[in-house]
Amino acid sequence: MAQFTLDVNGKTHRVDADPDMPLLYALKNDIGLNNPQFGCGLAQCGACTVHLDGQPIRSCITPVSSIGNAKVVTLSGLGTPEKPHPLQTAYVEEQVTQCGYCINGWIMTAAAFLRDKKNPTEAEIKTALEGLKCRCGTHMNILRAVKRAATMMG
């Protein structure tokens, strides 16, 4: 066990944990966030995606000891009902989710992509999101929402 100081959504948290413990468990159990989610623990699905210094990472395989001073932002840190991120707005507008368990992967990955890439083509959006899973099959909705957010951010 060791003690770690984590900067999550702009707040500092102290966490006692095994250095090998993935960040996901700290976020869910020690800090008590509702999202991200455990989907595979294998970096294959995206359900656990958070931003580390603005880059999407899979928190299910990222040891808590590797975070250091980097800033962690989760879906709830991305925007709020009062100040939503365009992707959150677009998700609501396009009524994207079915179960909604997958949304961290799509929104956090797309948020970083749209920040860096203005007016992407549909093909570029698809490539940026390749490999993320949505078992309910909301693919069409996800693409509509990301395009809508791209327009909002464009």
Binding site: Y25, K28, L42, C136
Partner: protein, 760 residues
């Protein structure tokens, strides 16, 4: 705002019902006829028992006039609660926003079957409609007494009853009953689950008077999800809970012989929990449970590997003794008709085991405290889970609460029911609240599977190419090796590993279509499981149980016959159909897709070839036709299912917005199951254990377009949309691939390797 509420919101309901309640009468429910003489007894301050024959079990009006609807089914993310809110608001004549739907919680609703067979609106909505209509009738009667006017001179607008002749003579629902409960007996048919029906004396509205039903209304549960305001079942926390992981045998059928507890001694708080062959680890911290799960050393019994090699699967099915055979709809004499045939067309199709492979492995939290069992579950049938836990723990169902909290996806009898039972056993054995989440490997490897099958189709043609006989036979594993709900221990892994007496359950199905062949036989046969206790290949309901497999075969075969006689696939189907609804969907899909009448395949050169295919089927009153357009990369064998045109007739459309999302989800999952999904196994166990070994459709492979044509039939009951449109997808794709390449794919999935092999 109409929203579906989670159990946490019970407090809100308590406030609604409690504040300022005037006790008019307290006591046992009384019959409606008695009530007619004692109008004030329509309402009472104390809640009548939660039983199917009580109006208060479905509808309540708060002191502010807000309406609560208590629904014994749940929404799997298709916006069903919106439609239920629409139906209730419509019948009660209140604004849509005044209704809150509470779902799938045994503390607030009776057992309406949970999510099951796309019946959310069909049977669930039917009950909520008659309950709301009865509530309106009763409220009108109460207003008549209060206003001293005959009920037939009253009308309702926005929850206010007023005289037709004088709108100032009025009484609001809130004034009439707000904060008290209905005490009105309904005429219950004594059934629970999907079949539950308990109407009152009121006649529901005429469809032509609908103002709210039929409107596109958006869901309000998306915002709480994107802003992380609502917990999933994986987020439920109970004070003092421990985290658990189940230990499954590496060879299916092996049992633990000895356990080396020393192997997890250095993991803080980790310990083994065992009861016979039921084996798990628990720890105070989740990560420690995860570590203990991988570190625990177990010596397993020397079980004989139960499975054949994957390659031998279909041969096994072909040769296996038949356990049950059902000839569902014989017409004429098929055997005799085949003897007269000028030509016989035959084909055989194969469909693999498929996994629910939910987005996350199942999770459940169970607490046993002061004689009450509380289970938070993602199961789509929490009322049945309550009954199952009562049996597993040997307590009364009345002492168990089954609370549905949205889980990581649900498409039938997935791993959620198993997880709830495992967690309950662990809570009992540890004496602590337990949060159990399965591993990814268990989520894909150990969930109940959609069964594998083969399908033989034959058609007899006379000299003029008329189909004189049709014979269709499915043979496969039962779709209910474990039953569709978790109400019995023997249908769960906990029951299997704890020695529950097992039952044999057989069911499969036949094509749902109305082709009028003079002689026709559609039949099925089931075979025994490879391993009857604790099998990772046990069969169960997976979205549209056995529908995709059967109609892949039957609708591919219709194209094969059309091809054999040189007919256009649309024209051929219509030739043998009479039902106007069947013909309407086929024509609508073809027309919208710009279907060109010709025979398949079309001649093309080059590496990428394109094709179109049609398929149609019915499901419990809903009819659906799909035109698929595909591109096939001949070199790589990769199929892009580029465009779908779906014509859909589910009777009365309650919410067009919800319908489109529901259909799109069906199509995407259907493409995924057709192109990619196959549970792999070796002779020891299932080897599809993650997303690499069980691939699904990627976003880069999503179609360009899914076009929907809705055929609204207000004169017909709403018959459900949750599954019908997944059914014809595989055949539509197979028929399009044939049109593109001239090659007939008869085995799912159409993975690139297999397509390349077929084209070679």
């Amino acid at each position: 705002m109409t929203t579906h509420q989670k159990p946490q919101s019970l407090s809100r309901r308590a406030v609604l019902m409690g504040g300022g309640a005037v006790v008019v009468s307290v006591g046992a429910p009384i019959s409606l006829n008695t009530v007619l003489g004692v109008r004030s007894a329509y309402a009472q301050g104390a809640k009548p028992p939660l039983v199917p024959e009580q109006l208060s079990s479905y509808i309540a009006v708060g002191s502010d006039g807000a309406v609560s609807a208590f629904f014994g089914k749940m929404d799997m993310g298709q916006g069903l609660y919106v439609s239920i809110g629409q139906i209730v608001a419509e019948e009660l004549d209140v604004p849509f926003k005044a209704v809150t739907v509470f779902m799938a919680d045994t503390r607030t609703s009776v057992n309406q079957g949970g999510a099951s067979g796309s019946t959310g609106i069909q049977t669930g909505g039917r009950q909520m409609r008659v309950a709301a209509a009865e509530a309106r009738r009763v409220l009108l009667d109460m207003a008549a007494e209060k206003l001293a006017l005959p009920a037939d001179q009253l009308t309702v607008a926005d929850g206010v009853v007023h005289a037709k002749s004088d709108a100032s003579k009025k009484a609001s629902y809130a004034e009439l009953i707000g904060g008290r409960y209905f005490n009105v007996q309904l005429d219950w048919n004594k059934q629970i689950g999907n079949a539950l029906y308990a109407p009152g004396k009121a006649k529901p509205k005429d469809v032509k008077d609908y103002k709210i039903v039929g409107q596109p209304i958006k869901r309000s549960d998306i915002a709480p999800k994107v802003f992380c305001q609502e917990p999933f079942v994986t987020d439920v926390k109970v004070p003092g809970m421990v985290h658990a992981r189940m230990i499954r045998p590496p060879v299916a059928g092996a049992t633990p012989v000895s356990i080396d507890e020393g192997s997890i001694r250095n993991i803080p708080g980790a310990r083994v929990v065992r009861e016979g062959d039921f084996l798990a680890v628990v720890a105070d911290k989740e990560w420690d449970a995860v570590k203990a799960h991988s570190a625990l050393k177990v010596q397993w019994s020397d079980a004989k590997p139960p499975f054949p090699s994957q390659d031998a699967l279909y041969d096994h099915i072909r040769k296996a003794p038949v356990r049950k055979a059902v000839d569902e709809k014989p017409v004429g004499n098929v055997t005799e008709a085949f003897k007269t045939a000028a030509r016989v067309i035959e084909a055989e199709y194969e469909w693999p085991f498929q996994s629910h492979a939910c987005m996350g492995p199942a999770c459940a939290v169970v607490e046993i405290k002061d004689g009450r069992v509380t289970c938070h579950t993602g199961s789509q049938k929490p009322h049945f889970v309550r009954d199952g836990l009562a049996r597993t723990l040997d307590v009364l169902p009345a002492n168990v609460d089954g609370i549905w909290v949205v889980g990581p996806g649900s498409y039938g009898r997935n791993d959620a029911d198993d997880c709830a039972h495992d967690a309950a056993v662990l809570a009992k054995l540890t004496g602590k609240p337990v949060r159990l989440q399965y591993t990814r490997e268990q989520g894909t490897g150990w969930d109940p599977k959609g069964p594998a099958s083969i399908h033989k189709a034959r058609a007899a043609l006379d000299a003029s190419n008329k189909v004189v006989a049709y014979d269709f036979l499915s043979k496969g594993f039962s779709r209910i090796d474990v039953q569709t709900n978790g109400s019995r221990p023997e249908d769960t892994l906990a029951g299997h590993f704890r020695g529950a007496a097992l039952k044999v359950n057989d069911n499969f199905g036949v094509p749902a279509e109305s082709y009028l062949f003079d002689n026709k036989r559609t039949a099925w046969e089931t075979i025994a499981q490879f391993l009857e206790r604790g099998s990772p290949l046990r069969g169960a309901h997976l979205r549209d149980p056995v529908g995709p497999q059967i109609h892949f075969a039957s609708e591919s075969f219709m194209d094969e016959v059309a091809h054999a006689i040189g007919a256009d696939p649309v024209e051929f189907r219509i030739r043998y159909l009479k039902d106007p609804r069947d013909i309407a969907v086929i024509k609508a899909a073809a027309e919208k897709a710009g279907w060109q009448t010709r025979i398949s395949p079309q001649k093309q050169s080059g590496n990428t070839v394109s094709g179109r295919g049609i398929a149609y089927s019915q499901r419990n009153g809903t009819t659906c036709a799909i035109v698929a357009e595909v591109d096939v990369d001949r070199r790589s064998g990769k199929i892009w299912a580029r465009k779908f045109t779906v014509a859909h007739d589910c009777g009365l459309i309650v919410n067009p917005d919800g319908l489109q999302h529901t259909i799109e989800g069906n199509i995407i999952q259907g493409i995924s199951r057709t192109l990619w999904e196959e549970v792999k196994f070796d002779n020891k166990s299932v080897t599809s254990v993650d997303w690499l070994t069980y691939p699904i459709l990627d976003i880069t492979e999503a179609p360009q377009t899914i076009d929907c044509v809705y055929i609204n039939r207000p004169d017909r009951p709403a018959t459900g949309a949750g599954e019908p449109s997944i059914r014809p997808v595989a055949a539509a794709i197979a028929n399009a691939v044939f049109d593109a390449t001239g090659v007939r794919m008869r085995r799912v999935p159409f993975s690139p390797d297999r397509v390349k092999g077929a084209l070679a």
